[in-house]
Amino acid sequence: MTTERTADWAERAVAEAAALTDREAGRLSPEQQVLERIERARRRRPRIRESRVTLAHGAGGKATRTLVEGIFVEAFRNPTLETLDDAAVLCPGVDRLAFTTDSYVVSPLFFPGGDIGDLAVNGTVNDLAVSGARPLYLAAGFILEEGFPVADLQRITASMAAAARRAGVQVVTGDTKVVQRGKADGCYVNTAGVGLLERPVTLGAGHVRPGDAIIVSGPIGDHGVTVMLARGELDIEADLVSDTAPLHGLVAALLDAAPGVRLMRDATRGGVATVLNEIAQAAEVAVVVDEAMVPVRPAVTGACELLGIDPLYVACEGRFVAVVDGAQAEAAVTALRRHPLGQDASVIGHVAADPTGIVLLRTAFGGTRVVDLLVGDPLPRIC
């Protein structure tokens, strides 16, 4: 009952190492020759051989270094990151900075139109952009579950790198932890971001005034519905892709066209309704929305109808809400629509004085109602 087999992985490793030929062999003793060869082996660029992440990759030793250099540095390569220092030293050039963080726990990790990687970059870029800053630097923290496929990690870091390039930001520092199987869901990513406030604008709820216009930068809910359907549990199919995108360019276009921008927020978890409630409460105003003006794709409408949810609460990852001086609303929308990410931008409502802290909706049917914060959320882990 004992059969014979060979250990193929070992034969491959041997063949690879044979490539390290001895220079200056003549000059050295046999032991020294071997030791020199080893030093050359040690200096090779680290390469991950495992197909899955193991706890050793999180233990801080050689395996961690291999993971960091073989995957993360490889994907995000830049001189600041490559020092692998405790902190990245940055000289952005002027003083006012924006600083933000978000953890990404989306499930599934890969979905039509994106994955956790570009989500993690775009999401943090967008928080900086809607704060009026030019996004510059990201810090990336990974929490990996033991057993996570290295190929998936490579795919995620590749999207992050591509998204960072697209957004003009650099991943300058990072961190990796590996937790036991069953203590995470494959891969969680945290990104923190630093941006520079170059423009003289000051944004904030304090600037919001009755009469201001409420603008949304594009069709809402694509991301949330896409991810929900991608989980496969609902057995619903639709031709939808996530709207994940970096909004800094679109924001710049808006700020150029309308200096009277009061504040912006990206409408992520909780959707446009949540953002509007936050604005109404922070600014102590009423927000009045005209349902008929809110851009929603038919497939989003269809999926929401099937599931009995309201698109106003569904997350986007590439849309923002802006409050703009009413007099500049038209200029603002014109500028947004000129940009590829803002083609469907629309004035969806206005700011009123009363009742403070409340969002009101003029329904498409011609009625009125309150749009409150949602208590729970039917959509599991969309960001």
Binding site: D235, I236, E237, A238, A299, G302, A303, E305, L306
Partner: protein, 90 residues
Amino acid sequence: MCLGIPGEIVEIKAGRDDLAIVDVVGVRRAINIGLLGQDQVGIGDWVLVHVGFAMSKIDETEAAATLALLNGLGQAYTDELQALAESDIT
């Protein structure tokens, strides 16, 4: 809870005649049509979907009739407005 959504049957599953795919503005889901007669519904029919089951076939003639009635009521209203406007002129 009693949420019912109209959807169009776009496919009936081969070998499982109680399973159909419905389309709601481009969104598709498999639903059970076992509560309707097998010969009662076919591709292109609209059904009312509730918790994954088709509850009834939507009667397009009746739907059109309701709309016509609503239009009629609307027309009556418009006529009235018209009348009002005309009476105003005089």
